[in-house]
Amino acid sequence: MTAAAAVHDVTMWFRGHTALDSVSTAFEADAITGLLGRNGAGKTTLMQLLTGHRLPTRGRVEVFGATPYEDDAVLARVCFVKEGQRYPDQFRVRDALGAAATVFPGWDADLAADLVRDFDLPLRRPVKKLSRGMVSAVGIVIGLASRAPLTLFDEPYLGLDAVARRLFYDRLLADYAAHPRTVIVSTHLIEEVGDLLERVVLLDTGRVALDADAESLRTSAVTVTGPTAEVQAFARRHELLHLESLGGHSRAVVRSRADDVPAGLAVEPTSLQQLVVALSLRGHTVPAPAAAPDDLEEVPR
């Protein structure tokens, strides 16, 4: 794999809090990578390091072979669409786009105009008067039209309705297909975005929990259901990620191929989202809900 960007053993401390803990990972050039993880897992911090917005407490950050921090040559090739991006107070939509056009050498004004039409953006309206979703759309227009060799979207869809999100995915795929570049998207909407991804990096409390090909992850785990003893016997032979039980029955997410599952167990594929949830919950026990009143025996008066 050729990496466009990488972090080597990076640790990031904030006051009394470790946001990233010895993280090493690389982002494949010209691939779309999903950066996944729960809130506070370190996704935004990692993106800030990759885009030179911060220096790591320890470790090395590398983007296109150089350190991004205060390196204008590198940063001209990087576009970071931040969650809740702020713009100067007096900026209208057209000013925000105009500023981006001067910053990014690869800016495509025609694409920007198309996207503005797609998202129904009012060019003359001040950005601070826009709805949340429209501000997100401005970020998406800038991210796509920048054609930056490394483009990062940090939860780019906040406030966007389902139609606008679909537009974003379709436009991203179409433009990426025509102009391949390195794209990193952090998202919680794994179900929606999963199929667009070529690679997946999952962060869990500041560490890399998963760093793999999206396609191989789709077949890396199964969900099996059946009698608890049989489920547990099967899980013991593989890596158990998550287990829930009800009565004598259990459901387990297990790292295994579907063809290894014994005949007595019902097997379902595990989606990327289910796998991510199972990995993020590993070690947590899910408390069984209290029995509903109608399950209780009636007490004789």
Binding site: A174, Y176, A177, T219, T270
Partner: protein, 120 residues
């Protein structure tokens, strides 16, 4: 159309194969490009390309340099042959398993299929 589980590239390959088997994608006609498949199914273009390359490796599609991928002559016959050989495993086995669970004999099953055919 793209489902959870199972590699997506295989599902993409199967969808193109289906079009060849049912005749909607004729032999010697141009197959959809990886970018078209990616856009239509909303999947990563690299994944779509992997599906197409699988079909090239299987001899179902062939590449014309600079033009695209085309359905190989004899592809439909080849796919029919393969699918027929997989039919018993994919369809008859689960049918028999369910029939056995319900106490339906092989003979009863055969009679059922005959009746079903006649009713159509």
């Amino acid at each position: 159309m793209i489902e959870d589980g199972g590699p997506i590239f295989r599902q993409v390959a199967a969808l193109v194969e289906n079009a060849i088997v049912d005749g909607s994608l004729a032999e010697e006609s141009q197959a959809p490009s990886s970018n078209e498949l990616a856009a239509f199914h909303r999947i990563n273009p690299a994944t779509a390309a992997k599906g197409l390359n699988q079909l090239v490796a299987d001899g179902v599609l062939y590449k014309r340099r600079g033009v695209g991928m085309f359905v190989a002559p004899g592809a439909r016959e080849q796919l029919l042959k393969r699918r027929r050989s997989e039919f018993a495993d994919q369809y008859v086995r689960p049918l028999m398993a369910e029939a056995r669970k319900l106490g339906i004999s092989g003979r009863e099953l055969a009679a059922m299929i005959d009746r079903w055919e006649e009713a159509r």
